[in-house]
Each structure stands twice: as C-alpha cells, then as structure tokens.
C-alpha cells in the first residue's frame, strides 16, 4: 500500500510503510537500481528503501535528504518505502536490520551517498554519450542533466542507457562538496509529520484489518510464575471471546474486539503458581551484596591506593533505580496467518530478530514470512526486543488464523524489560593543585545482554563512560560486580550512560568542591587536549551566562558533560529551590555530533532527550513487590508533564569531524546537571535517583561499606 502524504507547501511525498514488494517487482525492469536501497524511475521519481525504523527521530526525512542531495533531484521526487525484513537490507556496518544505538545516520550516510553518486555518475555517462560530449561537462541538479552549452533533459530520459554504462569504481566516485549541498544541513520539514498531525499515521496497533481478532494476555504478577487453574469457562462465556490459548508463562484470550479481549483476560482469574521471590528490599540487598564482592576489574591504571592515602579524599555512594521505557504505544504485533506463510505488521527496531523469532516460533522458513514495519509509537530501545512477535506468532499458530496481540498497559509494565538499577561506590583524592590523584569506581548492575546476547567478561554497558573516563586522573580503578536478580533488563535510551553519567558527573563535581575549584573551570582543567569536550563545555557556559560563585553560596547553575554514542554533550541546568524542592528553570544543551543532516531533527532529539532525562531524574522508578513489578500503570509510574518542563535551549556546534549519534547523547547529562545545580543552590548533595523521592528520604549509605 502506498499512501500519499502532503507536505506543508503542497508538495507530495508518498510514504509507504507497507507492501513494498509487489510494486518493486512490477517496476524492476525499467528502473535503474543502485544497490538495494535506491531505485530511479523513468518518470523522474526516486524510490528509497528504508532499512531503518521511524520511531520519532525523523530518520525517514534524514536519509531521504542525504540521497536527494547527493543525487541532485528535487525533494518532491523522493518516494520512501519501508523495506521489508530481508537480509539484503541489513545495515552495512552493523550487519543487521536494526535501528538503535544512535547509528542510523552514522552508518547509512556514506553508503547512501555512494549509491546516489553512483546513480548520478551512470546518468551523466549516459547523457554524455547521447549528446556526444565529455562526461566532465555534464551536471545533474534538480533532476535535470545539463551541460553548460544548451543540453538539458530530465534524468528519466537516460535511465535505459544508464543501465548499460560501466559501473563506476567506488574510489572514483566524486561526492558533492559542502558548497554544492542544497538539502543537507537544511531544516527540511519531516515527511511523517502531516500524517501524524491528521491522525492518519499507521502504527502497529492500527494495522489490524477489521475482521482480525485481538489477543490480550493474562500475565503473571511475579516473574516466572506459571498459570495453574484458570477459569476458561468464565472467559469463554464473555461476549466475543473465541479462544483461550495457554502460552509459556501467560494465557491469551482471543476475542473479536480489543475491549472484549481485555474483559476476557480479566475474567480468566488465573491462579498463578510459583515465580520469583522479589521486592524492593531484596533488590537493595542484592546490590549491597554485589558491592561487597571484589568484582571484575575493568581498568587499573596507576597507584590508586597510594593516591587515596592522600590528604583530601572523598567517598560517595550512588544509587539509581530500574526504569521502564513506557513507549506511549504499548507493545503489539499483528500476524496475518495463512498456514504456509504469514505477513507480520509490527513496529520494531529489530527486523532481523523479528524475522528470526517468527521463523523459530512458526516453524516457517524465513522466505515465507513477510515482516512489514509500521510507524513505532516510541522505541527507546524497548522495541529492539521481539517478545511481542513471539507471542503473536505463537497465538496465530495455535488458533490457526490471523490475530493482533495487544499488551494492555499493565502488562506492558509487568512484561517490561528495564533499564537496570545501578549502585556505585566511589572514592577519590585530589592533590593540593586540584589534580585528581586517584579515582576508584565500583559499579554494581545486572549484566545487560541486550539483543546481541551476553558476552564474557566485564559488561560494557555497566562501565560505559567510566572505563573510558574523559578526565585526567593519575590513577584509575574501575570494577564491576554483576548483580543476580530475576528482573529482565534491556537497553534504555542511552543505555549504560543513562546511569553512569549521573555518577561520574556528580562525583567530578564533588571533587571540584574538594579542590575548592569552580565546577566548570575544574572540568576544563581536566579535559586539556580534548578540543571537542572543551568546546561544548565552554559554549554551554557562555550560552547559559554561567557565573562562578563560591560553593554553597546561592549559585544555582549545575554543569554536566558526557561523551556517548560518538557525540559530545554539555549542559547547564538553572535550578531554583522552593521548600527544599528543586525546580529546573532552564536547560542549556550544547551538542557536537559532527556533521549534521538536518538541524531541526537534531534539535528535536535533544529537546526530547532532555525531557526524558529530566523525567527519569525527577520522578521515575520501577518498584518491585511480591515477585514482580509493583508499578503497573501510569498512576504508579508518572512521567514528566507539560507544566513541569523548563525552557530548553539547544545549541549545535561542530568540532568533531566524524558523524556522531543524536538520539541518545543528550540524555545522560541531564540528571547530574540537575543534582549539581541543586547542590550549588543548597549545599545538599543528592546521590540517589529519582530526585523527588530521594529528597524525602534520609541519606542512605552503602551498608556495610565495601571499602576496608
């Protein structure tokens, strides 16, 4: 299905989120294909097959800008088609069809540019042959091939001939230089916005044909519990209920409509057996026990113990909670089951795994499974998992018919995969000149296997931003102690940086005060030679009109800096305090993500990351009780709301030459900027998140202290 969306100015852009294949096959012969992503048509249109999922980051627009610009066609000529899950569409760097890790533009920029340049080169050769001129005299702009002296024709005219031209060597491709860019770097309006404003955008939940039934799961309150006795008759007696399907660790009720399935699942009255022993106290104890272990050594550099024997030392214990993704669209998956083949509509960040999962559960060969990616109502890492595909395919197979699986919100929380909680014990020492003599960092988290599976040794996410500490230290020791708990953990926007930046950036602030230095100046002194880091910090200070004042003396600005996903980000939070509670009055964010495709897309990502970071820092924590998740809906897990959001100023700068990530790097500095600002204003150091809960509780120490 190809749908038409209207851009603001009346331009037409076809955006197809489903059904690419028939179209492609029909047109194949007459078209000029350049690699798998690009297809030029004789009618002057350019088809771009997107191997990345649109989850709000604007990737469709960004990737199309790269192609249109390099190729030399009008923006209106672009047609975007979501590629189905197939091996040939994998990310050429990552080797999988995955959207995550802030890599889409980083990985796809060059390959798409080269494909577009190849197409342009072939067309130029064809035009040169047609006109009997030197290829060097032909240019392609705005969809037209032209020479300086009178020849001019639309590229469609040369498609047939171009297909017979010798394919240019990759090394000979002449990519457009910066001064030739007409779209790159421009705030081109997003192609997905009009549909999203008119309520026409098709998300996974909207992909259900009318007569396809809906499955809702009864889900155990405790992790790992099994269904015992169920009141199947009660559910079946409900209007519209068609099937009751036992799954591993859950029971599905299939009904004609969503509401009937929701009601049916409730009527099941499952008697759950067994399951994990888990509550908040057990969680805390497990972390404390882990910190008593030696842990695995990630970094050991210099004489840490000698440094810590110095005069000015500090010890600090930081505690961060588990977090939920809370995509506004709950998990779901629609399976159109035809026995010997199936089509699956799902908002996924991980097509490669979705296909493998569907094949494994259905028993069908991958070639008989057509995965169509819808718009994603939020991803943030959650949709890298394919649990919803496994569940939906299992149900479809069991009932031998099509089905749409819907996670009700409570189930979405209970079956969540969480940002791991994190406890860290730090010791540091500074010399008379302020230099950091020793930094000892012991972090306890659950291992974060993620989609790639668990690797032996130190968990990379656990020590992200610590093992590669950017600050000059004379001695560094980083240890990681794995925590064993039955809680499913998973990448959450900015992954390990989402906890470690809080710890590192709070602690460096603590060391600044210990050294009686201004926190911003102190950071600058410890980052000598790191031009990109210095640049973002200086700019953040300038844009925020940062004013150094003595410690604890009513200053209300907190600074933080973090490098993650190939980008540098610095932040200044202006914090006011009322009745001991912080209010963020403004956030100034400076991001250096290298070359930028579309500044407005980047600004939007930074704004969103700041809001999500602030939401987590202020409010969010998953609580556990009776073996499972206690916070099962939004009244127990509130997010930042419109009246709690400060003005957010975004400034982009570029010292970095390489393209960096955009979706994640602006989240990690938010929490520490807030905590540092709060300290500057009140002299009280908050080492525990979320902030609002921490304020109401006495200061917690790590007990018993691991340091002997």
């Amino acid at each position: 299905m190809e749908r038409r969306a209207f851009l603001g100015s009346g331009l037409v852009m076809a955006v197809s989120m489903t059904g690419a294949l028939p179209l492609r096959a029909a047109l194949l012969e007459d078209n000029l294909e350049c690699g798998v992503f690009l297809e030029l048509q004789a009618d002057g249109l350019v088809r771009l097959f997107l191997n990345k999922s649109e989850m709000g980051q604007g990737v469709m627009t960004g990737l199309a800008q790269i192609v249109a610009d390099e190729l030399g066609v009008a923006w209106e000529a672009m047609r975007l088609v979501q590629a189905r899950a197939e091996e040939r569409y994998v990310d050429p760097v990552g080797g999988r069809m995955v959207t995550g890790g802030s890599t889409s533009i980083r990985h796809m920029w060059r390959p798409l540019q080269e494909a577009a340049a190849t197409a342009r080169e072939l067309l130029i050769q064809a035009a040169a042959v047609t006109w009997g001129v030197e290829p060097g005299t032909v240019r392609m702009d705005g969809g037209l091939l032209a020479t300086g002296n009178g020849h001019s024709a639309p590229f469609g005219r040369f498609i047939a001939l171009a297909k017979r031209m010798p394919w240019p060597e990759r090394s000979q491709l002449r990519l457009r230089s910066a001064d030739q860019h007409t779209l790159l770097g421009r705030p081109v309006p997003r192609v997905d916005v009009p549909d999203k404003v008119q309520g026409r955008a098709c998300f996974g939940l909207d992909a259900r044909p009318r007569d396809v039934p809906v499955a809702v799961l009864a889900w155990p309150p405790a992790f790992g519990a099994r269904p015992g006795r169920i009141d199947e008759a009660a559910a079946r007696a409900m209007a519209g209920v068609r099937h009751v399907v036992p799954l591993e660790g859950a029971v599905a009720v299939v009904a004609d409509t969503t509401y009937q399935a929701l009601q049916g699942a409730e009527a099941l009255g499952v008697d759950w057996q067994g399951g994990a022993r888990l509550d908040d106290r057990i969680v805390t104890e497990s972390f404390a026990a882990a910190l008593q272990q030696q842990g695995l050594l990630a970094v050991h550099r210099g004489e840490v113990e000698m440094g810590l024997a110095g005069a000015k030392t500090i010890e600090a214990f930081y505690e961060l909670p588990y977090l939920a993704h809370v995509t506004m669209e709950p998990m779901n998956c629609t399976v159109l089951w035809h026995k010997d083949r199936c089509q699956i509509h799902v908002g996924t960040q991980n097509q490669t795994e979705a296909l493998a999962t569907a094949a494994r559960v259905s028993g069908l060969p991958p070639a008989r499974i057509d995965i169509q990616t819808t718009y994603l109502g939020g991803g943030f890492g959650r949709r890298l998992a394919t649990d919803m595909v496994a569940e939906a395919v299992a149900i479809a197979k069991a009932i031998d018919g099509p089905v749409q699986l819907v996670h009700r919100r409570e189930h979405d929380f209970q079956a969540g995969m969480f940002r791991p909680g994190c406890h860290s014990l730090l010791r540091g020492a500074v010399g008379e000149d302020g230099a950091i003599l020793a930094w000892s960092h012991h972090v306890a988290t659950q291992p974060l296997a993620g989609p790639g599976g668990q690797k032996p040794g130190v968990d990379r996410a656990a020590v992200a931003g610590v093992a590669d500490l950017p600050y000059a230290v004379k001695a560094l020791e980083v240890r990681w102690s794995p925590v064993t708990l039955p809680i499913p953990v998973w990448p959450w926007r900015s992954v390990g940086a989402s906890h470690n930046a809080f710890v590192v950036e709070s602690f460096v602030d603590e060391l600044a005060y210990l050294a009686q230095a201004d926190p911003l100046a102190y950071r600058l002194s410890l980052l000598q030679g790191n031009e990109a880091a210095l640049n973002v910090l200086r700019l953040a200070g300038e844009h925020a009109a940062y004013r150094p004042k003595p410690a604890g003396g009513g200053r209300r600005q907190g600074v933080a800096y973090h490098y993650s996903f190939g980008s540098n980000c610095a932040m200044v939070a202006d914090v006011t305090v009322q009745d001991g509670r912080p209010k963020v009055a403004r956030v100034v964010a400076v991001l250096d993500c290298g070359p930028v495709v579309n500044h407005d897309l980047v600004a939007a990502q930074v704004e969103g990351a700041v809001v999500m970071g602030l939401s987590a820092a202020m409010k969010e924590a998953v609580h556990f009780a009776e073996g499972g998740v206690q916070s099962v809906n939004l009244h127990q897990y509130d997010l930042l709301r419109c009246d709690e959001v400060p003005p957010i100023e975004v400034h982009l700068t570029q010292v970095m030459r390489e393209v960096g990530g955009v979706g994640e790097p602006a989240l990690p500095p938010v929490a520490p900027a807030l905590a540092n600002g709060y300290f500057a204003a009140t002299g009280r150091r908050i080492r525990r998140l979320p902030f609002l809960a921490a304020l109401d509780q006495p200061v917690r120490q790590h007990t018993p202290p691991a340091a002997s």
């Binding site: 603001g8 989850m55 709000g56 980051q57 604007g58 309006p189 997003r190 997905d192 916005v193 009009p194 549909d195 999203k196 404003v197 008119q198 309520g199 955008a201 998300f203 939940l205 909207d206 009318r210 809906v214 209007a239 409509t257 969503t258 509401y259 929701l262 809370v326 995509t327 506004m328 669209e329 709950p330 718009y375 994603l376 109502g377 939020g378 991803g379 943030f380 819907v406 009700r408 919100r409 407005d600 939007a604 704004e607 969103g608 700041v610 809001v611 999500m612 939401s615 809906n633 939004l634 009244h635 509130d638 997010l639 930042l640 709301r641 419109c642 009246d643 709690e644 959001v645 957010i648």
Partner: protein, 153 residues
C-alpha cells in the same frame, strides 16, 4: 446472550448506528467498530490522555467514557478540519516525533483554544498536563498553541 442496544452516535458530523453495550468505552467504539484509529490507546485509566477526543466541545478521555454516556456530538482527530489552526501550527512548528500522543495533544489544544482564545503560557501548560508525551515534544506543543492562537508567529 443479551441483545445489544442499537445506538446512534454523532461523530465528526456523521451519524453512526452501532450495536454495542452501554459500558464499552468510546475509545474502543471509535477504534474497533468505526475504524477511526487516529484516537489512541495508552493506559486505559485516564492517566495519559492519548485517547482524548472532544465531546460537545469538551476534551475528554475516551478510554474512561462509556459509550452509553455520550450525549453530545463527538469530534476526533479525523474530524478536526485538516487546515484547523492547531493542525497548521503543529506542522509549522514540527511538533510530532513518534506521533503516537499527538492526536490527543491536538484535540486537547483545540478544546483549550475553543474555551480560551489567547491562553497564557501557564494556562497552556496546565491545560496540557493531562496528555503525556514520552518523546518530550512539550515545548513545541506550547509554542504551536501560541502560534495557533496568533500570539507568536
């Protein structure tokens, strides 16, 4: 089984006759029976606001509104004029990210402007607090409402 009452609903200027029980929330009547899927499900308990529609000019959470209690005309995102000032401002300010919450945001904003033609920033923020956006588009939402109400351009 009890026979379902036939009920007539005025939605987006059309009259629909649906066969549905009194207690079914309007949200599911819209999405499942009438295939008006611009209105979204987020929490089902009135906490997220992505299901917001206008009923008799008031913004209400359709997940909590039993269809049996709907007496006035309903407007959903599909029924708000395509060139409504709020929709135009949403496009010019490039508000949506994932977009999932935006139908609810737009309906809430349209209802606000119907009641208060030039709301202050704090009026806007408190009127909008019932609709969550995990992507964090709040400041663009505020600006778009100011644009739609002719307060900034």
């Amino acid at each position: 089984m009890v026979a379902m009452p036939h009920r007539s609903l005025s939605i987006n200027g059309s009259t629909y006759v649906v066969e549905v029980g009194d207690d079914v929330p309007l949200l599911w009547v819209l999405r499942d029976l009438l295939l008006l899927r611009g209105t979204k499900y987020g929490c089902g308990i009135g906490q997220c606001g992505v299901c917001t529609v206008m009923v008799g000019g008031q913004a209400l959470r359709s997940c909590l509104l039993p269809v049996g209690e709907v007496r006035e005309a309903v407007t959903t995102i599909e029924g708000l004029a395509a060139d409504h000032p709020v929709k135009r401002a949403w496009i010019s300010e490039q508000v949506p990210q994932c977009g999932y919450c935006q139908s609810g945001q737009i309906m809430q904003a349209a209802a606000l402007l119907q009641q208060t033609s030039k709301p202050t920033e704090s009026e806007i923020r408190s009127a909008m607090r019932g609709v969550l956006c995990r992507c964090g588009t709040y400041n663009r939402i505020v600006r778009a409402i100011q644009v739609a109400s002719g307060q900034v351009s």
